[in-house]
């Protein structure tokens, strides 16, 4: 019994240490974003001045806008393109499917920096001026493979007879697509879109190599500012941490609540 108790204490200590390790830096960042001096060691008093600096900093605000715009557009395009490609793929000959999936896997398996420089060389070779558009194309390019890998397994599990029946009853292929296939795979399409959005929002390596002309996203800005400590980065990070946490809690809690209400209806 003593052994078990000791074991429990150890496991509790382990969990506590892990959570402290994961969250201490984030917590420090949040606390010092409210500091009224530049100091990183002494909390001299509460102030919102770093938030004010942040919102008045045109460069930082531009980076936030770029990040959001690219994430939204690339998610939209890559989710639709990837889903259609996955539907086409599930209907293709095995050989075509295998070749396409192998190439599709390349950017997933390759180190990010290799994918990044390959795109950088591509844009330079074809004399595409680097900036917002190249960053957007690159984000779409690295998101689609993940969309396909998320949607494809779901497509394998849906019943092809339903689509055939719809067409026997006079539906055109595009009607069957929008009324039969898409609704069935919708949950995985949504999770693919979420994945694409977060990958684009957080991307640094690929954006860094394919951008130009002063176009920066949040990650590039943090990277170029890392030389000297700037408390307004703490302010920006705090806002981002808050948004991510609220978002995660919502997507994790809402399904639970729905399940509960569904149970109640059943009862």
């Amino acid at each position: 019994m003593v052994g078990i108790k000791k074991h429990k204490g150890l496991s509790f200590a382990g969990m506590f240490a892990m959570l402290a390790f994961f969250y201490a830096p984030i917590l420090v960042m949040i606390v010092f974003s409210f500091n009224d001096s530049r100091s990183l060691t002494n909390f001299t008093g509460f102030s919102l001045q770093w938030y004010e600096t942040l919102f008045n900093n045109r460069e930082m605000m531009a980076a936030v806008q770029t990040t959001i715009a690219i994430a939204l557009i690339s998610t939209f395009v890559s989710t639709i393109a990837g889903t259609l490609a996955a539907i086409g793929l599930s209907d293709s000959k095995p050989l075509v499917k295998q070749v396409v999936l192998t190439i599709n896997n390349l950017p997933i398996m390759n180190p990010e920096v290799v994918t990044a420089i390959s795109l950088m060389i591509l844009f330079t070779a074809f004399k595409v001026p680097r900036g917002f558009v190249t960053m957007l194309i690159a984000h779409i390019a690295f998101s689609i493979p993940y969309v396909i890998l998320t949607v494809l397994p779901k497509l394998r599990r849906i019943d092809p007879n339903l689509t055939d029946a719809a067409m026997d009853l006079g539906a055109t292929p595009s009607q069957a697509l929008t009324k039969i296939i898409i609704p069935q795979i919708m949950p995985s399409v949504i999770s693919a879109a979420l994945l694409a959005f977060t990958m684009s929002f957080d991307d640094f390596v690929i954006s860094y190599f394919v951008t130009g002309n002063g176009v920066k996203n949040i990650s590039i800005m943090v990277y170029t500012m890392s030389k000297r400590l700037n408390p307004s980065i703490n302010a920006l990070s705090t806002i981002m941490v808050l948004v991510v946490t609220v978002f995660l809690v919502v997507i994790n809690v809402v399904p639970m609540l729905n399940k509960n209400s569904a149970k109640r209806i059943k009862v």
Binding site: S11, G14, M15, M18, F21, F22, P25, I26, V28, M29, L40, T41, N42, A81, A85, I87, G88, S90, D91, S92, V96, I103, N104, L106, M109, N110, P111, V113, V114, I117, S118, L119, M120, I121, L122, T124, I137, A141, I144, D164, M167, P173, L177, F201, D202, F204, V205, F209, I218, S219, V222, S226, I233, S237, M240, V241, V244, T245, L248, N252
Partner: protein, 284 residues
Amino acid sequence: MKVYRRLVIPYIVWISLLIVVPMLLIVLYAFTTTGSNTIVPIHFTLEHFKRFFEPVFLQVLWQSLKIALITTVICLIIGYPLAYIISRKSEKMQTFLILLVTIPMWINMLIRTYAWISILSDVGLINGFLAKFGLGPIKMLYTDFAVVLGMVYNFLPFMIIQIYTVLSRMDNSLIEASYDLGANRRQTFMKVVFPLSLSGVISGITLVFLPAVSTFVIPQFLGGGQYILIGNLIEKQFITQGNWNFGSAISLIMAALIMVSMHLTNRVDQTVDNDRPSKKVKEA
């Protein structure tokens, strides 16, 4: 029902343009030499690969592999027990703890790494605390220690989640059977639980080692501008040195290295899979 086959055609064009052609361009750059960053005229050469085998660059490769290996071992040693503890909790607690492990992964990696600078710096939180007792400052930022710490911080969640996923799906009756047959805790763990969790351990190792070898952000932030791992070397060739040919050659070497190690781990994974008792029982 082959009506949707055509939908894949635009994607074939797209991947040819944005995956195949770029990869071929890297290969082209790696094997050629040009005055500026234009492709014509082409002169084939192996000099960039030869150059990589100079002691300076081999040292960088060795350092990258060493740091990545240390990171992976630490993640495994810390990650396995944590994954094991989580998998023994009640179902609700498991979901909650895994959510807590996942949340940091959703926060921008640069921001999380940046946070460590202000903790480890000479004028940072830890040294400020030590100074109150007249101690320090201990140099932590811009050392190997800081780089490994940053990598463990960033990649540990991958290890925990991979191992946890396998442990939580493990058939409990196997463990009970082991106890019933007279095995003690240690024996049960060594002979039943650990072998069954090997596939999770292997994918955890892959998910930690691969990004650790190629990252250049963590060494840049926590190792300082002079700290060069293979990822930094590639970055410098493309961003500051402008030697794209040499940069492409290093990238190819790194990509090849990673493909080979992934192939090897897959092979190990399959052997482990074939030796799994549950599979043998099924086949028999």
